[in-house]
Symmetry: C2
Subunit: 353 residues, 2 copies
DNA sequence: TTGTATGCGTTATCAG
DNA sequence: CTGATAACGCATACAA
């Protein structure tokens, strides 16, 4: 038995399809009596209301917005920054009774890009930079908003965004370490291109060359890194790609770095979760952050405050909220938003002994 | 300028629409030469591939599955159980390259029910019981899977599920407390119907009557509660609806209960997060779980293990994984799955002094 | 107030 | 290998 449609009902009742449609969507367009009769008959025939997809095709709108992640979704749910952003984003969407679709578009996964192609949504917010996924979405004529600054490679200079000035923030962080007298600094970053060796150690120039060589597939924001490197010029700086943006990866970096003679005096991770993982490694060795090794992160998570971690606070919730508002209101004016950040100095960073 | 369609391309190139369509979906159905010409021309005209919605209408499938929550989504992201379930669910979905839509359908929110109506999805998993939302979805002919046992009021006895035997688990928990000699027990539950007073205290029968009176709008699973009440028959039992399933609510319950003379000797919450919140309240007062008051929860979260909380462990990840598999494979046989649970006794429950 | 024709963009079918 | 036709289910514009 095929699906019951408005046609069927119309035919059986001897009315036009339009009347049936109106019975569901425009009560004012037909007599109350007829309306109830139609509705009753529809129910009796097993019709359960207008088909969602057909209605979307007809109206040209889906009232659904996608959120694109660069990682697997299971990661997104476990990352505090993502979760906080999502919570704010979803609050606004719920208020407008819009639905949310979750899209995982790992860098380099060409097949996953098709998901963007096939997503029946009115717009897409990227919890990531101006990625291929975002660009593809725009090519489809879809509004996009990204919430991390564009990478050098993928930036097409288009698309709306809600970000902080990561470069400036990184410079401030570098300035702090410089003032504190640190001379040997390790920088923990995510993997910057698919296949990059993990836990390797690079001079900044070396690292830069590597990234340049892979610019075509570059996928992670590197503005924080470039700011740090710039601000620490002249010091002994080592860059370590730790693999994933996770506490575990930060911890692994600690294992790599702490059990050697020439320890760094300071370690900066480009996210709080990595920095917190590194602090876990310190604690395991009865080392004290700020005393034995200074540690700093980025993001300003609540967890960072509890741990006494120096960090750059960014308005996560505002990012999520504004991203949603930009998608919901195409008429809105300011569509490229740079939010304020704040360097928060805590006890994890101290003057070098 | 209107949207470019396959028609437009066909017209301009003097070929049939079908050929254009095939160029995108069935490379084998036309000559490579023609295909590349079509593709090039399409690109030149600003055509960006088949429209997602039109394709969905045509094919009758969306390759998207919804997850329905009874709470606001921001809550879902902060609840450890939900997050773990979602992670497992999404891993399976990602593997099949299916998309996930998040739906918030608060109990009693009639408007939100419309979201289920308008969701362009192939199926819906409920991180909740057999709710009105689930029932509505089934009326639409959509496959549903719920992951908490049916409530008494809403159960239509249909729909697939992946659950544990909550009632049996609750009986085991009650048996434990009985053996430990507890005679005065408080039970912390979520709010069982919209508008129910929070932090009130009820005798079990009283509470049951209240719930019965609101059976029409009952929205939360009460199998755990009924199992506990049944298993504790004859003892001095008090039921406290704490409002939401959150650590904060559990903490508030602690504030209510602990600063009085006739403290309970044991407190059971129907979820670990509530129990953990209650333990926070204990700690604040320098009381020791298990010594001053025994505490137990449900779910078996990692956090419960750390806190030494007695609980009922349930296979969260299996629940999520199986729910996804049921949705993805309509042919699969066993569609009503009861997973094993396990009573885990830790130091938060001890013999009464 | 009700009905008619038509299009939304795509793809399956079947004929050439 | 290519093309004409017919749905998919609904709702807008317009006519009655």
């Amino acid at each position: 038995m095929a699906r019951v449609t408005q046609q069927d009902i119309a035919k059986v009742m001897g009315v036009s399809v339009m009347t049936v449609s109106n019975a569901f969507n425009r009560p004012d367009q037909l007599s109350p009596d007829l309306r109830t009769r139609v509705l009753e008959r529809a129910a009796k025939m097993g019709y359960t209301g207008p088909d969602a997809v057909a209605r979307q095709l007809r109206s040209g709108r889906t009232n659904t917005f996608a959120v694109a992640f660069e990682e697997k979704l299971s990661y997104a749910f476990s990352d505090p920054f993502s979760v906080a952003w999502l919570a704010a984003f979803s609050e606004v969407m719920e208020e407008s009774r819009a639905s949310i679709m979750l899209l995982s578009v790992p860098a380099g996964d060409h097949e996953a890009l098709a998901a963007v192609q096939d997503a029946a949504v009115d717009g897409i917010a990227g919890l990531c930079g101006n990625q291929p996924a975002m660009i593809r979405a725009r090519e489809r004529g879809m509004p996009t908003v990204y919430c991390t600054l564009a990478t050098r490679a993928d930036a097409d200079g288009k698309g709306d965004y809600v970000v902080i000035d990561d470069h400036a923030a990184a410079l401030e962080m570098a300035g702090l370490l410089r003032r504190l007298g640190h001379r040997r600094v390790f920088l923990l970053v995510e993997t910057l291109y698919p296949g990059q060796p993990r836990m390797a150690e690079y001079r900044p120039e070396e690292f830069r060359d590597l990234v340049d060589a892979h610019a075509g597939s570059l996928f992670s924001d590197d503005l924080r890194l470039s700011g740090l490197v710039g601000g620490l010029q002249g010091l002994d700086v080592t860059v370590v790609p730790v693999g994933t943006n996770s506490r575990a990866a930060g911890h692994a970096a600690g294992t790599l770095v702490l059990d050697r003679k020439d320890r760094p005096t300071a370690v900066v991770a480009v996210s709080d979760v990595m920095a917190l993982g590194f602090m876990d490694a310190l604690r395991q060795r009865d080392l004290v952050p700020g005393v034995d090794v200074s540690v700093a992160g980025f993001d300003g998570l609540p967890e960072a405050a509890e741990a006494g971690l120096t960090t750059i606070r960014q308005p996560v919730r505002d990012k999520g909220r504004l991203a949603a508002e930009l998608l919901l209101d195409p008429e809105r004016k300011d569509r490229r938003i740079i939010l304020p950040h704040e360097l928060i100095v805590r006890r994890s960073t101290r003057p070098v002994a």
